[in-house]
């Protein structure tokens, strides 16, 4: 109970099935005020279903969602009023201007009439579109649309901002502008739930990250804690030409190598403590069995952790 009062978002035991297929199983996490929380997972992992339940579009089979002390199931209007939701698609009227779109959302969220004008101007300034406010949305660039898409979720000053892939298809300049803006919002005390295919974005702005796979949270923690899950081991990717199976067997016996797997016909992945220093030994171990045609050493990072936990890259 204390948690639900302290945290901006508390969700517990969220589950959702479609027929016999489990889309989300027992997902739970909390987000504190001023905290940015990342949700990472490959396509089909259950991120969108989780978000649909958090914003009230889907009714969970089990579990609870409490936003700013309001239970989404028993007091949906109060809970929804505390959430700003930025969908992945540009969910705005393309034939209305940026200003008209923002006014529409002000009215939809029930802002008092006298506040609408001022709040629209504030948000236009915040997203840097004051000078294009009276142009129709279908004349905006992709980046401008993304910015106004985010702006529409900020009009009612939500306690929790939920963003689903907010930078898809955006040029680097706009991406930087969006991320800078989000960091300012978090610094001002807004809670953030962020999903993205761009690992570097999540690493940059999220304080804590949950890795979701097959509908469940498989790991959760700060970036440092997650990287620690796979240890400080480096990942060595080898491309071999020759007797790959024999080479693999030899590499498994090499001191310092904790894991050796064949990834494709001619490729082998090694996980090794201080792997970058082990390279000469690796090459001499396979000498005469297979020729090393390519080698890559990857230091531990979130991408490596994600790969280790889900078996796939984020863009798979």
């Amino acid at each position: 109970m204390t948690d639900t009062l302290i945290n901006t978002l508390t969700c517990e035991n969220l589950s959702k099935s479609y027929g016999g297929v489990v889309a989300v199983r027992d997902v739970g996490f909390t987000i504190a005020p001023g905290e940015a929380y990342g949700l990472l997972g490959p396509n089909g992992a259950g991120k969108t279903t989780t978000i649909s339940m958090l914003v009230g579009l889907l009714k969970p089979d089990t579990g609870t969602v409490v936003v700013g002390g309001a239970d989404l199931a028993t007091d949906p209007m109060a809970a929804k009023a505390k959430i700003g939701y930025v969908p992945q698609e540009i969910a705005l009227y393309p034939d209305l201007t940026g200003r008209e779109n923002l006014r529409f959302f002000c009215r939809l969220f029930g802002l008092p009439r006298r506040e609408v004008r001022g709040r629209v101007e504030e948000v236009l300034d915040l997203v840097g579109l004051a000078d294009r406010a009276d142009a129709k949305l279908d004349t905006y660039s992709g980046g401008m649309k993304r910015r106004i898409n985010i702006g529409a979720a900020l009009l009612h000053r939500p306690e929790l901002l939920i963003l689903d892939e907010p930078t898809v298809g955006v040029d680097p300049q706009s991406r930087k502008s969006i991320l800078d803006g989000l960091e300012r919002l978090v610094a001002d005390g807004m809670a953030l739930l962020y999903t993205s295919h761009y690992m570097e974005e999540v690493e940059r702005i999220c304080h804590r990250i949950a890795i979701v796979d097959h509908g469940s949270v498989v790991a959760e923690g700060t970036r440092h804690e997650l990287v620690e899950l796979v240890g400080g081991a480096d990942r060595i990717e080898l491309t071999l030409d020759g007797d790959v199976e024999t080479a693999l067997a030899k590499l498994r016996g090499l001191g310092g190598v904790t894991e050796a797997v064949r990834t494709t016909a001619g490729s082998v992945r090694l996980i090794a403590e201080g792997g970058r220093y082990l390279l000469p030994a690796v090459i001499s171990t396979v000498d005469g069995i297979a020729a090393v045609t390519a080698v890559e050493v990857v230091e531990p990072d979130l991408e490596a952790t994600f790969l280790h936990l889900t078996g796939s890259t984020l863009r798979d």
Partner: protein
């Protein structure tokens, strides 16, 4: 003061429609182009035109002369003398004449020629019955006076006095059918139904677009009841349909002098038909995937329903089978009601069955479409 989210949705949707130039052309200009050209082709004129009735008779015969005089005096009939029976039958068969009357010399038994399925023929028959009845009454009154001992001159004088007295009797509510109106009086209601339906279907494109871009799911994440969002979307479409109907009524009244009839009756018919069109638009907006589909499917569908419902040509020209099929759809009921109301002395009470059927169709369509629409917008 907090604005109502339903009004926010309606305002946004109407603003979007007002910026669709092609859509505006089809709402503001196209109906009147159709009313003018089809109306002129059907004889122009705002009032119900007179029914052409051919007569084969010798005017030297006193009974024939009396009947002809009555027929010519009837306000709904246009009497044409025809040379012979064959020519008369050919005229009726070909549709040039609504009906024909053959009056043999020296006989009081007349032959009425008409086609069974013709509404105009039925209307002409009714008018002919009235005229012939008046002559029969005079003959019968003269016979009665003569039987009572009056001389032919006295009998004629008595009958003349009786006729003069009966002229003081005012018929305030005649249920004599006047047949299908022609000209603008026909094309204005026909195009009202046609374009209200077609343009409602076409504006469903905006609904599909809102669904496709995720605008509606996003609206559902606001602190607004799901029903309010659905109601806002439905109300937007109803306003477009009703505005289309009102525009056609006002402009056709002012420019073409079309008389629509008793206002409550017309409002009821147009209101329920606009609800039917709204239901059809939401159904379309729920079923199709692309925003290009409503404008591709809507007009042909609307035209076919209009054909079956008598919006493109009088239902009587379509024959009984097509007319019966047409009554499976709303346009036929709308046409029946609006044409009934265009006749003098009719009102809401005369079109209650049509209003009830249209109301039922609207209820079914709206319920079905809103359930479907709600399901289609449930997830992200």
């Amino acid at each position: 003061m907090r604005p109502h989210p339903v009004l926010a949705l309606v305002a946004a949707n109407l603003r979007r429609h007002s910026r669709d130039r092609v859509g505006l052309f089809f709402i503001v200009v196209m109906p009147f182009v159709s009313i003018v050209f089809v109306g002129m082709a059907l004889g122009g004129g705002a009032a119900a035109s007179r029914l052409p009735v051919g007569v084969v008779a010798q005017e030297s015969d006193p009974v024939a002369a009396a009947v002809l005089a009555e027929l010519r005096a009837h306000p709904d009939l246009e009497i044409t003398s025809v040379g012979g029976e064959e020519e008369l039958r050919a005229g009726v068969r070909g549709g040039a004449l609504a009906a024909g009357v053959v009056i043999p010399p020296g006989s009081t038994t007349f032959e009425l020629v008409m086609t069974q399925s013709s509404g105009s023929g039925m209307a002409a028959r009714s008018a002919v019955d009235v005229s012939v009845g008046r002559v029969a009454a005079v003959i019968e009154a003269t016979r009665a006076a003569t039987s009572a001992g009056a001389t032919p001159a006295q009998a004629a004088e008595l009958v003349r006095k009786a006729q003069a007295a009966s002229a003081d009797v005012e018929v305030v509510n005649s249920d004599t059918a006047s047949g299908t109106p022609r000209g603008f009086a026909y094309t204005a209601p026909a195009n009202l139904l046609l374009f209200t339906f077609i343009n409602s279907m076409a504006v469903a494109a905006a609904l599909v677009e809102s669904r496709r871009i995720g605008m509606l799911p996003r609206a559902f994440t606001a602190p607004v009841r799901r029903g309010a969002v659905l109601f806002g979307e439905a109300l937007s479409r109803f306003i477009v349909a009703a505005a289309q109907a009102v525009l056609i009524m006002v402009v056709s009244s002012l420019l073409f002098g079309v008389s629509w009839g008793e206002p409550f009756g017309v409002a009821a018919v147009v209101g329920v038909f606009a609800l039917v069109a709204t239901g059809a638009a939401i159904l379309m907006g729920s079923l199709v995937r692309s925003s290009a589909q409503p404008s591709a499917i809507g007009p042909p569908l609307g035209i076919v329903l209009g054909m079956l419902g008598g919006c493109l040509w009088p239902a009587e020209a379509a024959g009984q089978t097509l007319t019966a099929i047409g009554h499976l759809f709303p346009h036929a009921w709308g046409m029946d009601a609006l044409l009934t109301l265009s006749r003098p002395g009719t009102g809401l009470g005369d079109v209650l069955p049509e209003v009830a059927v249209l109301g039922l169709m609207a209820a079914v369509l709206l319920s079905l479409s809103l359930v479907l629409f709600s399901r289609r917008t449930r997830t992200l």
